[in-house]
């Protein structure tokens, strides 16, 4: 469990049970990398929101988890990929309180506030990829979006 993650891990998101599994895996990875409790909680909550989006709006997909090392800091990058209908109006989707799924409308906008880096790429009819990254110690990265 303490072995550093050298490569990306791919977890499929296809059911409610997968959501719990994804959350657990991210929590474990974040703890192993040295994330503090508050940061772990924020990251896992963002993961929960985004993974549920992948499941509910994207019709399922997968999450890719990649450990990051840059100089003397470590972090975690997570990509949520689906081949669903895509998001037609990104700006609207990122608005607090806007929802199409009967939720609170905080998933995307809230997750963005919970992590250091947030990037979204969506094409109608082709699918959506949301990529987030967070760094141990919580210093926000000067660069926006990680890829």
């Amino acid at each position: 469990m303490h072995a550093p993650f050298v490569s990306a891990t791919r977890l499929s998101i296809g059911s409610d049970a997968d959501l719990a599994w994804v959350r657990q895996q991210v929590r474990q990875a974040a703890a192993a990398l040295g994330f503090g409790l508050v940061q772990q909680t924020k990251l896992v909550t963002a993961v929960s929101e985004l993974a549920r989006n992948t499941l509910v709006h994207g019709g399922g997909g997968h999450m890719e988890m990649t450990p990051l090392a840059e100089g003397n800091r470590v972090g975690l990058r997570l990509s949520f990929v689906d081949r669903g209908p895509g998001i037609r109006d990104l700006e609207l989707a990122m608005t607090d309180g806007y929802t199409t799924g009967g939720g609170l409308g905080k998933g995307l906008s809230g997750s963005k506030r919970l992590v250091a880096e947030f990037a979204i790429d969506s094409r109608p009819g082709e699918g959506t990829t949301v990529t987030i990254a967070d760094w141990v110690s919580g210093v926000p990265s000067p660069r926006a979006g990680a890829s």
Partner: protein
Amino acid sequence: MQVAEHETALDVTRELSDFLERRREQIAQRWAEASLFRAVFTVSRDEAVEACKAVVDALAEVARGGRPEDLRAPGFDSVREQLGRMAASRAKAGYTPSQIAGEVAGLREPVTSLLRAEYDDPADPRAQANEIALTILIGTLRLVVMETTVDAGEELIARQRQQLLEVATPVIRLWDGVVAVPLIGTLDSARSQIVMESLLEAIVDQRARYAILDITGVPTVDSLVAQHLMKTVAAARLMGAECIVSGIRPAIAQTIVQLGIDLGTIITRAGLSDALAYALSQQGIVVSPRPAMGGNAR
């Protein structure tokens, strides 16, 4: 042989079936020595031999049906339960599915040597055809055993899921008119539905004015969990009970704020005891330490 291939195939499986019936006793005696049967039927050797005979009979029947590759052949039905018990017992002893499958495959060897002894010339095409049919048949048996193992696993998971639903939502009466639900684990929609139902029932049964939802045991509070909480609070309010959400840890509190969820309409407290204190004071109940008696040094 090429003229009527189908006929020949049927002949072969029939011949194999006859052989299995004729050698039933010997095969069963040899199988009873195999670890698969010996380790499962420990009461007596006779018991193991009987179990072996049942499997031989099943194989003979399947072979007679002419489709040794058919997993669904009715011949297997009579032994499916027994095979399931055997596989389960091996699994309990720590064997992996592939090890169990290996043990089943090991049943072929004793039968093959008996089968070879039936023919004077090992190069006899009928001998070889029979041996191939036997290999297929044992392969199918192996699949049947694997299938029972997987089925047993799925059944167990389904049962445990059901148990989880029931176990995790006790409603506790803390005081006259005060009930509490300690929420534990993942609050998916099925679980939260049950929580809401049992809480609302308890409010009626206990004539509760205050209901405490304690989320100490909930690892992640995202917008969906928050929404479930709000719905439960709203439903309780409709029934005349006030809800208090307690057990909000510092990390969760910060996350909820950044997520942008407004729990302003809900009464929240850090701990369960704070929530109880609130409920009591609202009812005018004051819990105070007993006034110090004379001479009570401590």
